[in-house]
Symmetry: C2
Subunit: 203 residues, 2 copies
C-alpha cells in the first residue's frame, strides 16, 4: 500500500458500518431478548415459536440456547458456581455482539441469578436488553419435565438443580412476564411481539 | 399449557428455522471469512472495506476483531500460550454461530497458529470457512506499524510479538491470498468479493 492507499485506509476506517446503519437497512432494531425461568417453564418452546414468527416478518433473529452454546463456545465449562457464572457471562457477551450486528438475539437459558442477568443487561444501551420472565409454578414445570431432569434431581443424580436444590432468583422488574400455565405458546410469542412493536423495536 | 398446548409445542419444535431457510431469505450463504496475517498486514482495513461493500449489496456481514472481542467476550484472557489458544477457539465458535445465523462473519485476528485456525475451520461445513491470508513482508508491516507495536516489540516492551519474537505459521493452502504490498485496499476487498461470487456464496 503506497501513501495514496494509506490515505484510502483512513477513509475506509472512517466509514465503518454502524449499528444504526444496520437497523435502518434491516428495518428493525438490534436487541437482546433475554428469556429466563425454570427448566420446563417453556423458554425454548416460546423462543422457537417467536423466532419463526420474526423470520416470517423478515426480521433477523437468532436463538442462543444450550444446544448451540454448551457444546461449542462453552464446552470447556462445567457446573461449578464459577463456571455457571462464566457460562452466563459469555452468553451475555455473544448476545450483545448479535445485537450490535443488527439482530434480535433471543437467549434461552435458566440464568437463575439476578447478578448474572444484570451484568448481561448492562452491556447494552437502555431499551436494547429486554428481560422476559417465563414463569410457571414449579409443580407444573416438574410435571412437564421434558428432559427428565427433575426426576434425576429428586433422585439426587443431578446436584444443585435450579428450583429443587439450587435457588432461582425471580426477576424483580422484567420487561415482559409470561405465565405459561395460563398462556398458550402462541399467545406467549404474540405477547413478546406486541411488546416489541409497542417499543418500536420492530415495525 | 394444557395437553392441546403441549402438542402445539411439539409442532413448534419441528419447525425450527434452519441455516438454509436463512440463506434463502437473505439471498446469500452464511460463512466464516477468516482473515489471518501479521500485525500491520492490512486485515482490519480490508475487513472494513469489504464489510462496507457487502452492506451496500444488502448482505448481512459482521466483523469480529480485537475491538469488540478482546474487552468483551475474551476480556478474561491474557497473553499466555493457553490464553491465546483459548482466544482463537472462542472466536472460531462465535464466528460459526454468526454463520449459522446466516451471516458472513469476518474475523480479523493475527491467529498465527495453523492448529488454531484449522480447529476453527473444522466447526464449519466444507466451503463455509474461507481462509484469507493477508500477506505483506515483515519489513513493510513494521514500517506501517499503525499501533506502534513493532517498535515496542523491538524494544522488548512487548514480549512474544508475532513476526519478531514469536512465530507466524503461514497458511499452506488458503482459499484466498492477498498481497497487500501489491494490491490496494479496494483491490483486496474486490478480490474477496470475486471469490465469494465465484463460489456462489453471494449473488
Amino acid at each position: 500500500m503506497d501513501s495514496k492507499a494509506k490515505s484510502t485506509n483512513v477513509t475506509w476506517h472512517d466509514t465503518v458500518i454502524t449499528k444504526e446503519d444496520r437497523e435502518k437497512k434491516n428495518n428493525h432494531k438490534g436487541i437482546v431478548l433475554w428469556l429466563t425461568g425454570l427448566s420446563g417453564c417453556g423458554k425454548s418452546t416460546v423462543a422457537t415459536c417467536l423466532q419463526e414468527k420474526l423470520f416470517n416478518q423478515d426480521i433477523q433473529a437468532y436463538i442462543l440456547d444450550g444446544d448451540n452454546i454448551r457444546h461449542g463456545l462453552n464446552g470447556d465449562l462445567g457446573f461449578s458456581p464459577e463456571d455457571r457464572e462464566e457460562n452466563i457471562r459469555r452468553i451475555g457477551e455473544v448476545a450483545h455482539l448479535f445485537a450490535q450486528a443488527g439482530m434480535i438475539a433471543i437467549t434461552s437459558f435458566i440464568s437463575p441469578y439476578r447478578k448474572d442477568r444484570d451484568r448481561a443487561r448492562k452491556l447494552n444501551q437502555d431499551g436494547e436488553f429486554i428481560e422476559v420472565f417465563v414463569k410457571a409454578p414449579l409443580d407444573v414445570c416438574e410435571d412437564r419435565d421434558p428432559k427428565g431432569l427433575y426426576k434425576k434431581a429428586r433422585e439426587g443424580v443431578i446436584k444443585e438443580f435450579t428450583g429443587i436444590s439450587a435457588p432461582y432468583e425471580e426477576p424483580e422488574n422484567p420487561e415482559i412476564l409470561l405465565e405459561t400455565d395460563k398462556l398458550s405458546v402462541e399467545e406467549s410469542a404474540d405477547k413478546i411481539l406486541d411488546y416489541l412493536k409497542a417499543q418500536g423495536v420492530i415495525g
